[in-house]
């Protein structure tokens, strides 16, 4: 059955047959470059595609003929010819269509003229991506496309950004868009190493931005429908550079530095001790307050006094001890070369990105080799291959340590090192001067961020190779058969060595290695056929099938007593006698897909598209394995109508679509009920055991989104201003949730299709050439508003799904990942105690989990970006501002930094506290006792709305001053540019914390969906200044 369409297409094309005399030639552009596969039509009815070298050859009958030459993005040319007895040879030169050449966009499994596109697609150029210093290429998409929310990563080198296309439509299944590089859906696992050290792996960090030619963001179902199963959260198509006719070289280098965009305002010793003393006295204490890691509450007053006075002698600024200036360096070299039958691109790159977090850097070495080879006029081979190694020199961050310690348990009276010998009661030296001062946090971890940074060795190494081979056959005019095979190899290795000096109890240290291998194979076959019924009607058919399989496996090594890390002594990995080795068998999944697309163009102004995709996923059982995802769309170029007369609005297009897309990004084996393996090694009293692990759900099925989209595109005053206004309604059903089930069932979690989510919104974008001439000024602005609502979660309560350790929950009628906390009202002026609001809004001093409620959410109402570019002669200046309005941020660490006085340092805002009756203060009376605030004893986590803040901001994201160096006549160089770039120049916000734009470390995909805009000791973004030079020759 699947062959029939192909046979049909082939049969149609087989009508081509021979004639009497030959008309041959080559179709080139104005520079003489061949235009491969240009269309050659004879008498409006028959013809062929040119070969990859632009050549064509027609057998024509004697007499008059009309030949039409066309190529996407070029003006069509018609010529008449009289065929007699002699062969004729032409060279046909096509001129670029000034309007259209920039409007060719990459779509799923092909390209289209933007004019014909009926879906919502945004193109981002290479220049927009490489022009900004970012830790990873996807961060550069921020502010570039309406409706695409890009939240920048934290200051940790190589950390991932968070991208959401038109809101959040998933809860527990991954909500990230699908990334496709040169046609291959790549591995995009953020949790290969879980949340190790408060850091999620970034699968995109190893991609070299300088290899990218363009990025297309597909947003609606008409655009993403061809990716059916995985298009629900948008698709990002990445096209890498390819060779061109002739030989050119590209060289660029960049150097700079990064510092924190903002700094924590932690208290110094005097302030901390003053407030601690006040809390002690408020609680009824007398004398000097006891101090963590020096005294206890039961110590006698004299001991406490001595400790207090001693503490006053030290004032360590732990923020200074953990942050500094990170240096950045980048070198790229590329060559493009092309001949008659081949072209190639080769590029190498080295990028060293040191973060402002001392000891932390991400270094990437990469190479790419892309080849196009046309051995025959009917055959073309395309090879794309990249090889990269990303090495992350890790540190502990956020809750795990480093700057996170400086913002929490590293108290200012702790010295970095002992300043004199420490002796015990017997006079024995227990700690020598110069040794690190170590302490324990409340979870028993050994702390001192400087000691940990300098003694602990931690390295993540990611080797990645993304490869793609395509064979394109053109057996007949207008018919292309493409066979494609891709292989994406990812090897992530994490090595940690904790020296004995940090363990206190042992002289030797411990070494860990955890490695993951992800093998991702992709195979697809497509056939496309262009059928021109007459001058006014054109069909484009595409059919195809695709198979993708991913294997993820790994191993772990652990040495309890060792004096060096494994990466410094590879023999350790083979030391079977002393190593504790675990092997993770492959976790596998696959997709099997069939798809088709029909495009119909009528009179070059009415465009229709239908797509359908059937996807099967191994993650679902036989009963619900396959999903069907169709879409319908249409576009109308109103301005091309004969009756259209407006001169001001030179281009007017309306398009609309409806379609279905899906999501199957859940764990590979969630549907199975499972038990422990037979030889699991676990015993009780020496007898082996067998135990259940997870309950089965054979009815798991696709999460499905129905999207309706409509837009109006306009060009004003001969495209001096172009506008696009779009609206969408996205209704997601069967949303996959990993719900917490009553523990009394014998299990605690269960995957089920229980949710319904609505996203609807409008998007507006404008591009304006404000000034032209010697002084140019262009403005690009995009704004999007999204409304998100979780409409149904079955019989479950908000606590059924939570975002990791955050206080985000699923609340019907509210956005996904709303904050669910006790509402804080004010501080009682008489008592200084916090006043809460119960579920009815009544004031109460009683804190209780029973009165938790929706107190805000982290999803913005409005996002966007505005880029202004100015050019004068050889100079240019651009400024990109991004903005977000309406989102709340939960400053989760503030509940300890600004709450009960504990062993955490406090922020200076805490000085605004109640001190005496009548005080109007932001923060209540200080206390060391959490029950003062009515918190349960032993629970100093003050989860209230007091720490929900407005996260609206306008950020001058990027500023670039560029100078294009004038080149002397006869120079071999075709361009040379010097640019000075600054990121995160300033931010306008009312958020009192560190950074209103935050992507914290997440526990899993569910947390990633549920907990945007939660910060917990998260390092702020960096401010980077770089100088770059780029040349072409």
């Amino acid at each position: 059955m699947r062959l029939k369409p192909i046979l049909f297409l082939l049969a149609i094309s087989s009508l081509a047959s021979g004639f009497g005399q030959t008309l041959s030639g080559t179709i080139v552009d104005i520079k003489g470059n061949p235009l491969p596969s240009a269309s050659v039509i004879v008498d409006g009815t028959d013809g062929q595609f040119a070969g990859m070298d632009g050549s064509f050859s027609l057998e024509l009958s004697p007499g008059d003929h009309q030949i039409t030459f066309s190529f996407i993005g070029y003006l069509t040319k018609k010529r008449s010819v009289v065929i007699a007895n002699e062969p004729i040879a032409w060279t046909i030169t096509l001129e670029e269509d000034a309007v259209m050449i920039d409007d060719v966009v990459v779509v799923g499994y092909g390209v289209q003229r933007k004019k014909e596109v009926t879906g919502s697609i945004v193109q981002v150029s290479a220049k927009q991506i490489t022009g900004i210093q970012t830790p990873s290429f996807e961060a550069a998409l921020q502010g570039q496309a309406a409706g695409v929310q890009v939240s920048q990563s934290s200051g940790v080198a190589g950390a991932p950004s968070l991208i959401r296309v038109r809101g959040v439509a998933s809860v527990s299944a991954a909500g990230d868009p699908l990334y496709v590089i040169d046609g291959i859906p790549i591995t995009q696992e953020y949790f290969l190493r879980g949340n190790s050290g408060a850091f999620n792996n970034n699968p995109l960090a190893s991609i070299n931005p300088n290899d990218i030619e363009s990025v297309e963001i597909l947003k609606d179902a008409a655009a993403t429908g061809i990716y059916g199963s995985r298009g629900a959260n948008g698709v990002i198509l990445i096209t890498t550079k390819r060779g061109k006719k002739g030989t050119t070289f590209e060289f660029s280098t960049r150097a700079g530095f990064g510092t924190p965009a903002t700094r924590p305002n932690m208290m110094d010793t005097e302030s901390y001790l003053t407030l601690r003393q006040e809390a002690w006295e408020n609680d009824g204490g007398t004398g000097y307050v006891w101090l963590p890691n020096m005294t206890s509450a039961s110590d006698d007053p004299t001991t406490r006094q001595q400790a207090y006075l001693q503490a006053m002698q030290t004032n360590t600024n732990w923020v200074d001890e953990t942050t500094g200036m990170g240096t950045k360096g980048n070198v790229n070299f590329g060559v493009r070369h092309g001949g008659d039958r081949y072209n190639l691109y080769a590029g190498v790159s080295q990028d060293n990105n040191g973060s402002y977090l001392l000891g932390n850097s991400y270094n990437r070495s990469s190479a790419r080799f892309n080849v196009d080879w046309t051995p025959k006029s009917w055959a073309k081979v395309i090879l794309s291959s990249s090889l990269s190694r990303g090495q992350n020199n890790r540190i502990d961050a956020a809750w795990s340590g480093g700057l996170g310690d400086a913002m929490s348990n590293a108290l200012p009276y702790y010295p970095v090192r002992y300043e004199e010998d420490q002796v015990d009661a017997n006079g024995n030296v227990v700690n020598e001067v110069g040794e690190y001062f170590l302490w324990f946090d409340e979870w028993g971890g050994t702390k001192n961020p400087v000691a940990v940074r300098e003694l602990k060795q931690w390295k993540n190494t990611e080797d990645r190779s993304i490869n793609n081979a395509q064979l394109i056959l053109t057996p007949l005019k207008d018919l292309h058969v493409k066979l494609s095979g891709g292989f994406d190899y990812l090897h992530l290795k994490e090595d940690i060595f904790n020296p004995g000096a940090l363990s206190i109890t042992t002289d030797l240290g411990s070494a860990n290695r955890n490695a993951n291998y992800v093998l991702n194979w992709n195979y697809s076959a497509t056939a496309d056929y262009r059928l021109e019924l007459d001058d006014t009607q054109t069909f484009n058919f595409l059919i195809g099938s695709e198979f993708q399989r991913t294997d993820n496996y790994g191993y772990g090594l652990y040495y309890g007593q060792v004096d060096s890390p494994i990466f410094e002594n590879d023999s350790l990995a083979e030391d079977a006698a002393n190593v504790n080795r675990t092997v993770n068998l492959p976790s596998q999944h696959s997709f099997l897909s069939y798809f088709g697309r029909v495009n119909y163009a009528l009179k070059d102004r009415y465009f229709f598209q239908a797509t359908a995709r059937v996807d099967g996923s191994s993650r679902f059982g036989r009963e619900s394995r396959y999903g069907f995802f169709p879409s319908l769309s249409a576009g109308w170029i109103i301005s091309d109508e004969s009756w259209y007369t407006s001169e001001k609005i030179n281009f007017l297009k309306f398009r609309t679509s409806i379609g279905f897309t899906g999501n199957a990004a859940l764990p590979d084996y969630a549907r199975f009920g499972t038990y422990s393996p037979a030889n699991n090694g676990n015993t009780y009293a020496g007898d082996s055991i067998l135990y259940p692990i997870q309950p089965e759900n054979p009815f798991l099925r696709w999460e499905t989104s129905r999207t309706i989209d409509a837009s109006l595109e306009m060009g004003l005053w001969q495209d001096r201003i172009t506008l696009e206004l779009a609206g969408y309604h996205k209704y997601s059903t069967d949303v996959l949730m990993n719900v917490s089930t009553p523990a009394s069932t014998g299990f605690t979690n269960f995957w089920d299709n229980v949710g319904t989510i609505l996203n609807r919104g409008v998007e507006f974008s404008v591009k304006s050439r404000n000034l032209t001439g010697a002084f140019e000024w262009n403005t690009d602005l995009n704004v999007a508003r999204n409304y998100n609502e979780l409409m149904d979660i079955g019989d479950y309560t908000p606590d059924a799904v939570s975002g990791g350790t955050n206080d985000s929950r699923v609340i019907v009628g509210r956005p996904v990942g709303s904050f669910y906390l006790v509402e804080h009202s004010h501080v009682d002026p008489e008592t200084g105690l916090p006043v809460y609001l119960d579920l009815d809004g009544n004031e109460t001093f009683e804190y209780s989990n029973d009165i938790r409620k929706y107190v805000g959410d982290g999803l913005p109402d409005i996002i966007g970006g505005m880029n202004n570019t100015f050019r004068y002669k050889n100079w240019d200046f651009s400024a990109l501002a991004t903005f977000s309005f309406g989102a709340k941020i939960f400053d989760s660490s503030a509940k300890r930094q600004l709450g009960v006085v504990t062993g955490w340092n406090m922020r200076e805002e805490k000085l605004d506290r109640w001190r005496q009756p009548g005080d109007e203060a932001t923060y209540p009376r200080l206390t060391l006792d959490e029950t003062t605030y009515s918190l349960p004893s032993g629970f100093p986590w003050w989860n209230t709305s007091l720490f929900i803040f407005d996260a609206s901001y306008i950020r001058l994201r990027n500023v670039t001053l560029g100078f294009n160096v004038p080149l002397p006549a006869g120079s071999n160089m075709s361009g040379c540019r010097i640019a000075l770039n600054a990121t995160n120049v300033f931010t306008l916000t009312n958020f009192p914390g560190l950074d209103p734009e935050v992507v914290r470390d997440f526990e899993n995909a569910q947390d990633r969906n549920m907990s945007p805009n939660v910060t917990y000791l998260t390092p702020p973004q960096e401010r980077a200044i770089t100088l770059s030079i780029s040349t072409n020759f």
Binding site: Y669, Y684, A685, I689, L690, Y691, T748, S937
Partner: protein, 454 residues
């Protein structure tokens, strides 16, 4: 290249991926549920896993939770979870109560699966089936009992025991269940233990036996105030002669099953099941262990005088450090033992006012061991009330750290005595631990009232 070649290539390309078996992957490192239970050996291993969960619960965790609720332990050093239990202010955010609750029901679920899968196993004879079911119901009973004591008001809190207990899981359903009445939970526990008593073997290695079921029945009836039944059951065990009081006062022995042990947890060098005791109570590893006896307990013990060998179990002080588990990296943990039977019988007989001679004999057997034979005997002419009080005193001393005393105080409170535990009435809300938050994920489950005990 001919058209035929193109067709061949295109056809192969389009069909090569059209095989549904390409979508069949099964996890390689686990067994699918439908394949997990094939024979009697699988059932046995599943049953052993219920003991494994019991070991995780009763390797000190449940005992510590119980003692922290009561008067025997002082304030924890700095553990937030322990402090929440100590202050009787657990919430569903507190990990220790949620974790224990989950484990109780892991064991109950597995027990139910054992019982429900006999029909799918062909190599199981009738006796083996009875034994497997009896053991499964034994584990199910003691887990329901453990849960209802921690997460609900005690038996007798209401006259008809209609107050909310815990979910009663007698089958492996995944459907949410509300809290059953405490009376219903106790009825099911007694039913399961009676079944176990009937069908368990007399000897069964380290696993449940007839006497184990009998010992638990005795304790359950004792808490229900059914003293005659409790005394009768305890008498049966004592009279069997299978167990003897260990004269060195150390029931927590390494690599040996103590002679008193009727049922207990086995801890081995590869699993350290006793680590909760070791890590939190041992005073020979650190001068500031996480947990210690309370000043109140130390005062109570000091009343016995230095002649009481049990005074070695603690070091007097505001934080009376516990020495009972010192010098041991791992040790077996008796849960039901002969000392308990003697003291239950003694108090039960005193409560019923019958056979005081036997009751006094029980107490003196314990005292002789503690003080030396005849050094501190209870008078043979003691009244029933004196016998009861003496039994209670010995009970508190003998089970110090074993997690029984708080239950006894709650029983007495429910029976009408005026009981105050660390300045709070015995029935203050926070005495019941809060449930796991997972029970709060489905509409209709009623959580416990929190706090109110400070």
């Amino acid at each position: 290249m001919t058209m035929k070649h193109f067709l061949l290539i295109a056809g192969l390309a389009m069909t090569a991926v059209s095989c549904d078996r390409l979508l069949e992957f099964e996890p390689g490192d686990v067994i699918l549920a439908e394949d997990a239970i094939q024979d009697a050996d699988d059932l046995q291993r599943l049953l052993v896993s219920t003991y494994d969960v019991l070991a995780n619960l009763y390797g000190g965790r449940v005992q510590i939770i119980n003692e922290l609720r009561g008067p025997n332990f002082g304030a924890p050093d700095n553990s937030l979870d322990f402090t929440a239990v100590y202050n009787r202010e657990t919430t569903f955010f507190t990990g220790i109560n949620g974790g224990a609750y989950t484990d109780f029901y892991y064991a109950i679920y597995r027990s139910n699966v054992v019982i429900e899968n006999f029909q799918f196993v062909s190599d199981l004879d009738a006796d083996e089936q009875l034994r497997l079911e009896a053991e499964a119901r034994f584990v199910r009973a003691i887990c329901h009992w453990g849960a209802v004591k921690l997460y609900a008001r005690p038996y007798g809190y209401t006259a008809d025991n209609s107050h909310a207990g815990v979910p009663l899981r007698l089958e492996s359903s995944q459907d949410p269940l509300p809290r059953a009445a405490v009376g219903d939970v106790y009825a099911a526990i007694v039913d399961d233990l009676n079944y176990a008593l009937l069908h368990l073997p007399a000897t069964n290695g380290v696993y449940a036996t007839q006497h184990a079921a009998r010992a638990y029945l005795a304790q359950v009836h004792f808490l229900m105030g059914d003293y005659a039944e409790a005394a009768a059951l305890a008498s049966n065990i004592i009279a069997s002669g299978e167990f003897s009081l260990d004269q060195d006062l150390d029931r927590f022995e390494t690599d040996l099953i103590n002679s008193e042990t009727i049922f207990g947890i086995v801890s081995q060098p590869n699993d350290f099941r006793s680590s909760w005791f070791r890590d939190n109570l041992r005073s020979d590893n650190t001068s500031s262990p996480q947990l210690a006896f309370s000043e109140d307990f130390a005062f109570f013990m000091s009343l016995s005088g230095a002649g009481d060998a049990r005074s070695q179990w603690y070091t007097p002080g505001v934080r009376a450090l516990c020495n009972r588990f010192n010098n041991k990296e791992y040790f077996n943990i008796p849960l039901a033992h002969l000392t308990l039977m003697h003291l239950i019988r003694a108090e039960a007989l005193a409560e019923t006012g019958s056979d005081l001679e036997t009751a006094i004999g029980d107490i003196n057997a314990i005292r002789d061991r503690a003080y030396g034979a005849g050094n501190f005997p209870l008078s043979l002419t003691s009244t029933a009330e004196e016998v009861r009080d003496a039994a209670r005193d010995e009970y508190r001393k003998e089970t110090a750290g074993e997690g029984h005393w708080t239950d006894q105080l709650l029983r007495r409170g429910a029976m009408g005595e005026s009981i105050v535990i660390r300045n709070a009435p015995w029935d203050c809300p926070g005495m019941s631990l809060q449930f796991s938050n997972s029970e709060n994920t489905v509409d209709g489950f009623v959580l416990n009232e929190e706090g109110g005990c400070l």
